[in-house]
């Protein structure tokens, strides 16, 4: 890893993205959700190392470029719950999230995000500086 981890703005952007991914993935099997977040985090690390060396504001730009290429967290989770890389289906978008979960086989039915999530305890995986993961 060659990237420098001293830029708080870039760190904040990356952490916020992983928060969004984690939140969007609440209906997945918990083990798979953690794994998905880890995979994306690992991708981000590798991609940042791949970006042209940058400092200061450029570091945040690099982070945003990497996230732009990854795509919205919601799209990633949607690909997880559909066959392949399908764009949003109208029928799914119109149904409340809880119903989608209950109608999908193979995924433990959890009609609501857990209390743990709501209390903010899940922030722990992302509360350390970005450098902690690389």
């Amino acid at each position: 890893m060659t990237h420098v981890d001293a830029d708080p703005a870039a760190d904040a952007v990356l952490r916020e993205y992983l928060h969004r991914l984690h939140a969007a993935a609440w209906a997945l099997d918990p083990a798979r959700r953690d794994e998905l977040v880890d995979e994306v985090r690992e991708h981000i690390d590798a991609a940042l190392a791949d970006e042209p060396s940058t400092t200061g504001q450029g570091h945040e730009v690099a982070a945003r470029n990497v996230l732009e290429r990854l795509g919205p967290p919601e799209d990633i989770v949607r690909a997880e719950t559909e066959d392949g890389l399908a764009p949003p289906r109208v029928v799914d978008a119109a149904v409340p999230a809880a119903n989608v979960v209950q109608s999908r086989p193979g995924v433990p039915s959890r009609s609501r995000p857990s209390r743990r999530w709501r209390s903010g305890a899940c922030c722990c995986p992302f509360s350390a500086p970005w450098s902690a993961s690389s």
Binding site: E39, G71, P72, D75, I76, E80
Partner: protein
């Protein structure tokens, strides 16, 4: 060449319609493209994603590859192994299983037949269209 709105009586395919067809094609073929990349040997997830991204129009959001990889693993077409990395933490590598290799071979045969048949129709049609206009 894209037609301009109201430019004439030619019934060109609308750009959005062409995009939709490409989306369907991409959705149907992306998993075999993943298998094809892995046919050359095991690959680090990030490198795999970047190789697919380099193919024009194949991957619009890099992050959506991870759900696809998870599905291929669940289906027994790929397996993962952790390998030590000099640059940082261990990395997850993907490789084809025997079932993945069979699946790729079967699709490659089908795809080649399909592509050739479509080309047989499309290519002469385009040639004669050009002659008429010229």
């Amino acid at each position: 060449m894209p037609s301009r709105v109201g430019a004439g009586t030619m019934r060109d395919m609308e750009p959005g319609e062409a995009r939709n067809v490409l989306t369907q094609l991409r959705r149907g073929t992306i998993e075999y493209c993943v298998l094809a990349v892995l046919a050359g040997g095991s690959e680090y997830a990030f490198e795999l994603v970047r190789r697919l991204s380099a193919v024009d129009g194949l991957v619009t959001s890099e992050g959506t590859i991870y759900p696809l990889l998870a599905r291929l693993r669940r289906d027994g077409l790929v397996t993962t192994t952790w390998q030590e990395s000099e640059a940082g933490p261990p990395r997850k590598y993907y490789r084809l299983t025997a079932a993945g290799r069979r699946s790729l071979a079967a699709f490659t045969d089908e795809w080649t037949r399909f592509r050739d048949a479509v080309d047989d129709l499309l290519v002469p049609a385009r040639r004669s269209g050009t002659e008429h206009r010229g």
